[in-house]
Amino acid sequence: MEAETSNQRTDLTQLNLAVEQIRESIGHIIVGQKDTIEFLIAGILADGHLLLEGVPGVAKTLSAKLIAKSINAVFSRIQFTPDLMPSDVLGTSVFDPRTASFAYRKGPVFGNIILIDEINRAPAKTQSALFEVMEERQITVDGQTYPMDEPFMVLATQNPVEHEGTYRLPEAQLDRFLFKIEIQYPTLEEEIIILSRQHQHKLENELKEIKPVLSIDQIKTCRTMIKALHVEPKLIEYAAKIVHETRNNKSLYLGASPRASLALINGAKAIAAMQGRDFVTPEDIIKVAAPVLAHRIMLSPDKEMEGLTTADIVAQIIQKIEIPR
């Protein structure tokens, strides 16, 4: 068993070229935020929905718009507000007097890349409308099911929950996001570059110049490549141990789901492919562990009072599990 080796390798040249092009086009506008860009690209390649969290003004929406712009696909934007209704997102049946029947009018969720801005400003009722479309890539209205076009991806932005006028997203919805990418403040040097660019009116021109670098077909091909990536059985076990530990950890009130295990492997595959490898290493799993798990788990009340974060617990879990080698 140990002597078996894999000769079926995946050629990732095309994928790496595409990734490099996206990196370059976004990197022209977004200053710093290297990890954010990496996870955004990884999310697209791993066929997952992404949640971007950060305080106001750290380029969450801009990052999401740029990543959407770099793909030649149908882009749709929904601004979530407290009075938004599920029918405003999914669409609704409208009575047609000419035919004396109801006709379904599609909502803005129909598209390839859906940017949901300020997702946590809408109440749970509207959030629930996204459950089916995010997981099953289809919408059922009046007994009729409408499948989404491929690729389908939700890019959502939100302010931290402590901010005014925000709701905590339901656990079931959070679980549907592959990564939660936390966008931090730029460093002093980065801020100086941002200001200089803005001052020289470079940013406006660069934004207009952004052109799609990936077609829908290319995205589909990249995703197929990533699915074919090799994961050593011991690494699957390692990923499972990490997720399993979240369910037994005393610091956690809610552990991660099996969907999180799948996300951990898929995310690690995307990261490996972006680095030109057709196999996953433990580092890939560790790299995606916090973005995959931190939003899926909940701290116990005492640990929350101590000021710990879910990312801290994920880091502590990783530090305690042996690397398979």
Binding site: E2, F279, P282, Q316, I317, I323
Partner: protein, 253 residues
């Protein structure tokens, strides 16, 4: 201090309720004073001349009752005679003795009770797994159960195992063992600090000598491609890999 005029006004206001109260009290006593004298009815008591029979407690029966555990109120005797119940009965008797003894002052009694309560809290917290550091607010480390290592590099007889793997043409396993042996050598030379949960990249960063770091980085890449990536390795390729490991190991002092 209130001005004298206000104080006087308050006194005059209090006058009326007091007068009213006195009036009602007076009304209560009027019927007694104004009523007719009450005629008292007297009756002669009769002498009871019947003969009384004195009864005495049956001391024998009392003694029998005394022997019965149900009537021994001064101490609780366990229902069954198991050693565990006897121990607790003894324990509570001792405790009760300490708490109520004349020589123990009130302060001493309170200390004993406080210690006992603290002991119970400690046992409960220990059993429920509550983090004791919540009182100090310093708890940043969480005890995650250690996942047992599948291979302890300090226990493997590397030379024998590598030879076995080569003999069976299991070159992939041989590369893995050679990599683990290099890690052990680096650890023994205090060049890295071996911990099973550290990644290969962490060990590369721990190496301070740039040449050694570069060499080890190459070996790590080889190992990752062969072990995690399951890249095909034949006898010829293995010879090259083995040479790299031998060269690297000779450089470790």
């Amino acid at each position: 201090m209130k001005p004298p005029s206000i104080a006087k006004k308050n006194t005059s206001m209090l006058k009326y309720p007091v007068i009213l109260l006195l009036f009602f009290l007076t009304l209560q006593s009027i019927p007694v004073q104004a009523g007719q004298p009450i005629a008292l009815k007297t009756e002669q008591l009769k002498n009871d001349s019947s003969k009384l029979q004195l009864r005495h407690f049956d001391t024998l029966k009392i003694d029998t009752y005394r022997q019965q555990p149900d009537f021994r109120y001064d101490q609780t005797i366990p229902v069954d005679d198991s050693l565990w119940n006897k121990f607790w009965a003894w324990f509570w008797r001792q405790f009760s003795g300490i708490a109520t003894a004349n020589y123990s002052g009130s302060m001493f009694r309170y200390i004993i009770i406080a210690v006992f309560i603290a002991l119970i809290v400690f046992v409960v917290m220990k059993f429920t797994g509550v983090d004791f550091n919540i009182f100090t607010g310093k708890s940043k480390t969480i005890a995650v159960p250690y996942v047992a290592a599948s291979d302890n590099i300090h226990e493997i007889d590397f030379n024998t195992e590598i030879d076995k793997a080569i003999l069976t043409s299991n070159y992939r396993m041989a590369v893995r063992l050679m990599y683990l042996r290099s890690l052990k050598k680096l650890n023994n030379s205090n060049l890295i600090n071996w911990q099973p949960e550290k990644t290969n990249q962490t060990y590369i960063k721990e190496l301070t000598d740039p040449y050694q770091r570069e060499q080890f980085s190459l070996l790590t890449t080889q190992f990752e491609y062969i072990w995690y990536g399951e890249f095909f390795i034949d006898q010829e390729n293995f010879k090259e890999v083995k040479n790299s490991y031998d060269q690297f190991n000779t450089g470790i002092r």
